[in-house]
């Protein structure tokens, strides 16, 4: 990376939503005292009539959004992922997914991006629980470019979705946004033949770094970006697994029920494939920033490269 990226995914989202909301007055944003955390203050300044503040009430946030979607609005409900995916999960299941209302649920500061704020503020179960709800897409962009592509698509689709965004700027995975993006279609970030890293969200960058490190050691590691946990690109996962025989899934989520589980489900009938699930363990985490925790739990580029090397040897 020549220059460190300073634009967080949530800022990229805000830019897209401002553009889309200016074009279409039905595009609205709802916040639960979370416009600052979601980087949506600029949206509120520019389009105050299209921003609904509901106060610190996540259940209400989701139900009100569902009611507004019922009336033809295109609500983006933004709230910290830890609360949105837990406190209001039943409203997501019933009012949004089951009633089939076009709400985009934006879980901000997802995963461990709140770092030292502790378990109350971590969302490490959100993939597991949202993935099990019918009629709900589950999406997690890798960087600001993918965030932009994703939200442009989301502004025009009519399917309920949960989108998890991290809090801090992440290093770019794409040079720009001039690439094909389709919900449900995995993207090969790096080609490789010895093993495949299957990553989603902020772990994509770590997997790419691992692949670069391995390359120096003569190991060819493919990196597959599963930005859509649902719909899940089983074909791409199976293909990559068959081609390499070795799979390492890595996610900023509990090792239970998330990306690793989705990969394992896809590969359950495949023969001769080794799959290692890397993620956060089933315990209260040590205190630290995202990158400190990535290192602690073996999810950073160097640790992943080490794991990949062992797997190939």
């Amino acid at each position: 990376m020549s220059k460190k990226n300073t634009i967080a995914n949530r800022q990229a989202m805000c830019e897209v939503l401002i553009e889309e909301a200016k074009e279409n007055s039905d595009v609205i944003v709802l916040t639960s005292d979370s416009r600052g955390s979601a980087s949506l203050a600029k949206f509120a300044d520019q389009l105050p009539a299209q921003l609904i503040e509901v106060g610190i009430a996540e259940q209400n946030l989701v139900s009100i959004s569902a009611g507004m979607a019922h009336m033809g609005k295109r609500p983006f409900a933004a709230s910290p992922a830890c609360f949105l995916s837990m406190r209001s999960i039943e409203q997501i299941k019933v009012d949004v997914a089951y009633s089939n209302k076009n709400v985009k649920l934006v879980g901000i500061s997802g995963g461990i991006s709140y770092g030292a704020l502790g378990m109350t503020h971590h969302s490490l179960q959100d993939f597991a629980v949202t993935r099990a709800i019918p009629n709900l897409q589950v999406l997690v962009p890798a960087d600001r470019h993918e965030t932009k592509k994703m939200f442009k698509v989301l502004a025009t689709t009519n399917i309920p979705a949960y989108i998890r965004l991290g809090r801090n700027p992440v290093e770019d995975c794409y040079p720009d946004d001039s690439y094909e993006f389709e919900i449900g279609k995995a993207i090969t970030m790096t080609d490789g033949t010895d093993l495949v890293f299957i990553a989603a969200g902020e772990t994509v960058r770590q997997a790419m770094d691992a692949s670069l490190l391995l390359k120096k050691k003569g190991i060819s590691a493919k990196v597959l970006n599963l930005h859509s946990l649902k719909p899940f690109d089983e074909l791409a996962v199976k293909k990559a697994a068959r081609e390499t025989g070795r799979v390492i899934s890595v996610e900023e989520h509990s090792i239970y029920g998330g990306l690793g589980a989705a990969v394992a489900e896809s590969l359950s009938e495949e023969k001769g494939i080794v799959h290692k699930i890397v993620g956060l363990p089933d315990e209260a985490l040590v205190t630290g920033t995202t990158i400190e925790l990535f290192k602690h739990y073996g999810m950073d580029g160097a640790s992943l490269a080490e794991l990949g090397k062992k797997m190939v040897e």
């Binding site: 609205i28 009539a49 609904i52 259940q59 209400n60 569902a66 009611g67 009336m71 009012d95 009633s99």
Partner: protein, 277 residues
């Protein structure tokens, strides 16, 4: 417009058909259905601007049944209004049926799926708020149970409705005083309900919720500008059938053959009395 006496007769017919549906399916929330039957009849036959032939009509009034478990009476009313064929009522709760034990928007006339308590009011706030933003001209009615008010999410919705000045929203509490465990006041004290809703910024009216004349009159009155309206409808759980009335154990109980015959004969007698009015 229907005369009050005709509405009363309709409510008895609906009670009969609701009971038959529960009796046939051997499942249903008998007591809960009967307590709010008059409210649904007042809304669907007199108050709401709806068109069963055009269920998604622009600017139609909308009804959200937050106490979703009283689905049997809703299905009966919707079928009678012509949203679907009455013959389908026989399929209630049967294998593959879309008429399930809670409102389901696969059926025309149902706006939102409900069944988990404490959702309807907040959803209605969203509908009313979007209506305001769109400049639409319609009213939304939300029916809640009284036991349901123990759900904290109701009070999030209560705050928001007043905050957004939703005078296109009327909520109704079916205050029958009983829930599955027993008396609602014993399960969780909630009086003074009226004071609570006033404190939350609502205009509150307490009425006899099984009195058709009063119901229609109260529901028809427009809201005060910028203020959501709450009607605390004091009802009798199991209303209309002597041995079901005011019995908590009839919340989710199905009549036996003998009980069914007695119930129908009581309702028929009430119909006869109204014919002589």
């Amino acid at each position: 417009m229907m005369e009050i006496n005709e509405l009363k007769k309709k409510a008895i017919e609906i009670r009969k058909e609701t009971l038959e549906m529960i009796y046939n399916a051997k499942t249903g929330h008998t007591g809960s259905d009967l307590s709010c039957t008059d409210i649904l009849v007042a809304l669907y036959y007199e108050v709401m601007n709806i068109d069963p032939k055009n269920p998604e009509m622009i600017n139609r009034d909308q009804y959200i049944q937050s106490k979703g478990h009283a689905a049997e009476v809703l299905w009966t009313v919707l079928a009678n209004k012509g949203f679907f064929e009455k013959a389908e009522l026989k399929k209630f709760s049967q294998y593959g049926s879309r008429l399930i034990g809670h409102p389901n928007n696969k059926v025309a006339g149902v706006e939102m799926n409900t069944g988990s308590l404490g959702h309807g009011l907040s959803v209605s706030v969203g509908i009313a708020l979007a209506g305001k933003m769109n400049g639409d001209n319609f009213h939304i009615y939300t029916l809640m149970g009284d036991g349901e008010l123990a759900e904290g999410s109701i009070w999030e919705g209560a705050m928001a409705a007043a905050n957004f000045g939703l005078d296109n929203l009327t909520a109704i509490i079916d205050r029958n005083g009983l829930q599955i465990t027993g008396a609602s006041e014993d399960v969780m004290k909630m009086e003074s309900l009226k004071d609570k809703w006033i404190a939350f910024g609502w205009e509150v009216q307490e009425i006899d919720g099984n009195n058709m004349e009063i119901l229609v009159d109260t529901l028809r009155k427009p809201n005060k500008t910028g203020i959501p309206k709450m009607i605390i409808a004091h009802t009798i759980k199991g209303k209309g059938i002597s041995f079901i009335e005011n019995k908590a154990n009839w919340h989710h109980k199905v009549p036996t053959e003998d009980e069914m015959m007695t119930a129908l004969s009581e309702l028929n007698q009430q119909l006869e009395e109204l014919k002589n009015v």
